[in-house]
Symmetry: D2
Subunit: 333 residues, 4 copies
């Protein structure tokens, strides 16, 4: 059983069916009937008027948004372990024409308001140093922690005070919503977020992510940037179809609940071995190389994560017997 990452799991059958159903001639790009629904359904979901776009990958969703929020000569404050810093191959610098990531630290890849204040305090206000123009956080974080609505709001207040745009990487937003029991609105625009990626691929989607603009005046620029970056597919209805299928009957929440529950099963077994509290669907466990080997010998796959730690990520479709076996195996270490 593989726990490398939720991004490799199968898509939910409803997503595949939606793709098949959408497979008919329609207006190209995002002129089709399904793509045209996105603004409406996400506006309802977020309880405010938003502009919503499908995008083909999370990297594109994040970096297209950052390019619209930060000028080429600006800086983007983010955590040292943020996906945009660590795992996007320098895409922020590419999409935002050389804009610079400014790294802050904090346990579990969480950014704290005072870390932002401290980072800004270290920048001289002159033309010789890059000035920060945006703040980016990830919820749930790369280490499976979540920000509550109040925590996001505190960062939003920090961003506003320093005149920073506020970006949210929501690759695992569903897991955060389920975990915090907060509303999508409370975790985003009500807390000051200007734009966010809304992930589906790690949550049972196939290959469509959403980009949500709460500052709707950025929509025209964003649409141009999406095309210019080669992210405006001609049969866009298929991406919209996936997203709509995920939203219908709250499938996105069901899937996230399932993945989070699977993570809790493992976390319960890991107990004292946990490196971080498990608040979403990622579990970091202290394990010697021998212990890791023992787990692998029983058919479980996962990443080593630094010396003496392993990382397991649960997916929407991992449940039942094999999961219980993994839990038992970890408990037996």
């Amino acid at each position: 059983m593989r726990f490398f990452s939720d991004n490799a799991a199968a898509a939910h059958p409803a997503v595949i069916e939606a793709i098949a159903r959408s497979n008919r001639l329609d207006t190209a790009y995002d002129g089709d009937a399904l793509s045209q629904k996105l603004d409406r359904v996400f506006s309802d979901l977020f309880e405010t008027e938003v502009r919503a776009f499908w995008v083909l990958t999370g990297t594109a969703a994040n970096c297209l948004a950052l390019a619209a929020l930060c000028p080429p000569y600006g800086g983007i404050i983010c955590h040292r372990d943020a996906h945009i810093e660590v795992d996007e191959a320098g895409a922020p610098g590419f999409f935002a024409d050389g804009a610079k990531l400014m790294l802050v630290d904090g346990p579990g890849a969480k950014v704290a308001p005072d870390a932002v204040d401290a980072a800004l305090a270290g920048i001289r206000q002159d033309v010789h140093q890059v000035q920060a123009k945006a703040l980016s956080i990830t919820n749930a974080t790369e280490y499976g922690l979540t920000y509550s609505g109040a925590e996001v709001a505190a960062l939003g207040e920090t961003a506003r005070r320093h005149d920073l745009a506020f970006h949210l990487d929501g690759a695992r937003f569903a897991n955060a919503v389920v975990s915090t029991n907060a509303s999508p609105a409370d975790l985003s625009w009500r807390a000051g977020v200007d734009a966010m990626s809304f992930g589906f691929v790690k949550n049972g989607g196939l290959n469509a992510e959403a980009l949500i603009l709460f500052r709707t005046e950025l929509a025209d620029e964003f649409a141009v940037r999406r095309k210019r970056a080669g992210h405006l597919a001609s049969k866009g209805r298929m991406f919209a179809a996936q997203i709509l299928a995920m939203l219908e009957n709250d499938l996105w929440l069901d899937n996230a609940r399932s993945a989070n529950a699977a993570a809790q099963t493992i976390a319960g077994a890991a107990g004292e071995r946990l490196v971080y509290p498990v608040e979403a669907n990622e579990i970091f466990v202290r394990a010697t190389p021998e212990e890791a080997e023992a787990l692998r010998a029983q058919g479980f796959d996962f990443y080593d994560w630094g010396p003496g730690e392993i990382r397991l990520v649960t997916s929407w479709d991992q449940k039942g017997e094999p999961l219980d076996r993994l839990a038992a195996a970890i408990a037996a270490l």
Copy 2:
């Protein structure tokens, strides 16, 4: 019946089935079994060792290749009506960090060797003028003409003489192959092409294009650029599956034959009204606004293309009765 563009047609059922079949847990990105097959199947198809990648759109396939072939300070010679110039929102400048398109003219969007020579003769060899570093052509062209193997080879020779990399936009490569009866090899590397996009989306695919590198030493750089541009999807198996389905049993050729045949049906009816010879699946017809209106009144949709012209594009799935009705309607004008 809509003849706006082949890029809005339904995908072939075999493509949808392949997506459904590939929907299982596998290694992420392009580490899966299907993606790993691409080098092999395209090497067989092209009768030489190539490196092959799935890419999410034609714009990305073209511009990622151009970025690998042309330095930021270089120029790319292409036709004034080339898709990269006219319809990609400035993507070449974005992907290649400011590289400049250098436009040449020629009937039917075809580039002739002497047009390339003339363009180069107009550039002073100093640091004040941008120096051309690449040549890009489209086969079939944006006006539905094709280059024969000999014509591509003449351009390849021109490129080599001027030390230009040679890029082929193959969004409708299948239509060109069927039309010219040339082998894929003769229309590409044997004629000097260094890299090409190989289109599927306009030919019954859903949302996967291929990028073929004949200069295989560019593969590592290309792979990095693809990721950095947000074009490395995590469930890549689904893109590979589409491409493999299109190649299986030569479905790509069957589809192109069908679209080309549909175009011939219309072309036969248009006769003297044709603006260009119809060699692929695009038909440009002289028609007054009133005539265009009359066709639309009969249920046919298409683009006006400049004053007194209309453009019709046929798809793999347009055949039979409605097509005959359109032909009759055009003949009756």
Copy 3:
């Protein structure tokens, strides 16, 4: 006697003296007393509040301004023979992160309002085509023609109607002011210009150009971009000193008058051979290769300019006997 270009002439002695005089310890970059004067003296000169910066080259002055006026995904309308298109090595694409030059034609490198309208009419208003965001003209033009205040104003009105920023390449602005007898204000902001380069190097300066922002709210961004492009020299007082010396007692106007007068001397001799009216300090003369050779044999150097034409450019310090000899030689052809 060399008539290749005014950009190779000696600097006026007053400029060298000013450099020597400014050679003392002062605050670095543009914090020194001389640099701090620029806003004031240019505001007086232009009869409005402006922000003024020294920049090290005309290419930098133009392209830094264009980067502040046009987003990376936008287009800049300019003449096909504009310096930014022909002789700046692709710098606009570099400074403006891939922004695209959109070329219009017109005699003598002059842009006419209806050429701008026509260019814009040819652009579909969608995300697939680059949308124009700026207009750039050169006064005096690369062919030595000038725009009157009314002509600039007509272009300014055109730019405003299409929501284009308006940039003026003023590498030979002095020659235009002298030639048109218009005020600097009438040739710039009163005619709708948002930003301009103000040339000194071709007019007796050594190596400092000025960049004038009439939209003063762009100043902070411009200052950052100047530094980021490596154009903020540490001993900036020396650049300011040059500019102030050129402005003092209207030396810049005297120099331009002298160069323009020299051009008139030659133009008078060339008579029917002139390709364009001579309105500034560039003269294009029809001459066979043999005639050109004959002139060179008498010690005059200049560029061939296409078949059967030569280009001569006069400098502030070219006057008297050798000039009369050249005029006589041309008259004698």
Copy 4:
């Protein structure tokens, strides 16, 4: 007496005289007789064939070189306190089209080979993480320390082992040469350096820096990039003249000796208060705010540098009585 920075000092009179002497008509850009000498004189100085260019600022010299050494998708390892990271406004990301600085730590802004090894060990070799392509060091460092020839060679060996290009920021190279008593060759190409900026402005020059390419095959690309970045001034002879004046009779070494000696005078007085050994012309001294205030009250200006530290930088022309007064004042604290 001001000790803010050596970059604000007066230029040496010989430099001003050279400018005045070069003020005559000559071929534009770098076609003049003086510019054409640079390759020769620097090849002699470095005891190997080099290509040498004047550049207008140190930021441009560094970042143009880095752009030629590192692809847009690559990373450049440098010290966290390196000028390119801290004080160049993000210029590396601009010139190198989004390339990423990768920061290492080390006392006194010195990079150690094992810090480079450690940084590289932390990068996964895949397309998701930016791969390092270059190493950049500064000699003398931003904290006034120097690398010996052996130390540079160890880094060069490290770079070669990891296939990194090796760049040297030589803004204060003269101070390093004087301090280490090593030959320019031993501190550069013999130690594996591929390209370096060679600073003059901080050492008595006015506004010309040199860029030296030991990998001479990069010269053509560099020349294009210099023009494209607006750093090819038309009266280039004036920049070459400055550099030649500085090299003549080893003025550059005399000036550096003078500045270093001034620093030693202060260092001797500071004794235990020194934060770093004083090996060039920068002195970091522990001083309470009250002590700093006391020094300022006596007419000495300098920067505060973090809590409880001040920075003083000496220039080529600071000597004699006022310097002794400063030394006495510091000793008296």
